[in-house]
Symmetry: C2
Subunit: 158 residues, 2 copies
């Protein structure tokens, strides 16, 4: 079985599919408003990726490219990806969809940062992510985990 991760377009169908997921927040509401007020075009590109089984979106993640000038995590400082809202619908879990999405994110070859949910550390470690050295001023309430492509190391702070 081959699992295909695809970029989701911003349109009413996508937003409708998102309602089935647990982590629906102001982000999606804001996108809906932008669609309704024509601030974005229907089928605009988005930072949303997902896996369809037939017509049904069963897994999603958000992935956003950060510019090197905001990089406080990687050495040398460089463009990197922020990954969030990795979620697989109940009934479709433990089938490799979550891993497939994270592998897809890694395929860009950029370092990745994520803020894992409580109790998800095992999953992230299995995917090759590791904790950064906690830095109060940078991380505050976050517990970031990162994935380093070859040749990239942790940015060290005093």
């Amino acid at each position: 079985m081959s699992i295909k991760v695809e970029n989701l377009k911003i349109n009413y169908k996508t937003l409708e599919e998102f309602n089935k997921f647990r982590e629906v927040g102001v982000q999606e509401l804001s996108m809906k408003e932008e669609l309704e007020t024509n601030m974005v075009e229907n089928d605009s590109d988005s930072p949303f990726y997902g896996i369809y089984l037939g017509n049904k979106l069963v897994a999603r993640m958000n992935l956003y490219k950060r510019d090197a000038r905001f990089d406080q995590y990687f050495e040398p400082p460089q463009n990197y990806l922020e990954l969030w809202k990795v979620e697989v619908l109940p009934g479709y879990q433990k089938k490799g969809y979550g891993s497939a999405m994270v592998e897809y994110a890694k395929s860009f070859g950029l370092p990745i940062k994520t803020n894992p949910r409580v109790n998800s550390t095992d999953f992230w470690e299995k995917m090759g992510f590791e904790r950064v050295t906690y830095d109060l001023e940078r991380d505050l309430g976050e517990n970031p985990m990162v994935w380093y492509p070859e040749g990239v190391t942790e940015q060290v702070h005093e």
Copy 2:
């Protein structure tokens, strides 16, 4: 009854008290390590605040001052406070301890930003916080709420 919010010193007793709270994470582990390796002095100042009943810490929050140059939320851009891990121990909730901590944070007269936990919006609205206009590039997976002191408004992004 008067409720006293106090700044907590970083020491073994404080870290021991933190173990009773739900949101104990790498932050506290990192502080413990810093204590053990003498990277910080015992009784150093901390961004932790809390309420003691007798010898028992029953409520806590973290409060950290951000420099104006990192301000993407307030107009005019200025120093502001990041508030996180507001938590009251079970058995001590609904007695005003949470509100007392947030009022204490407001007493500094600086704008405040927080990332509310799911389902805590009502509490924050009661405390005078409001949602900001969601900005993907700035907020990513966060749903920030803010409190504006008089004369401060939302920073507008294109």
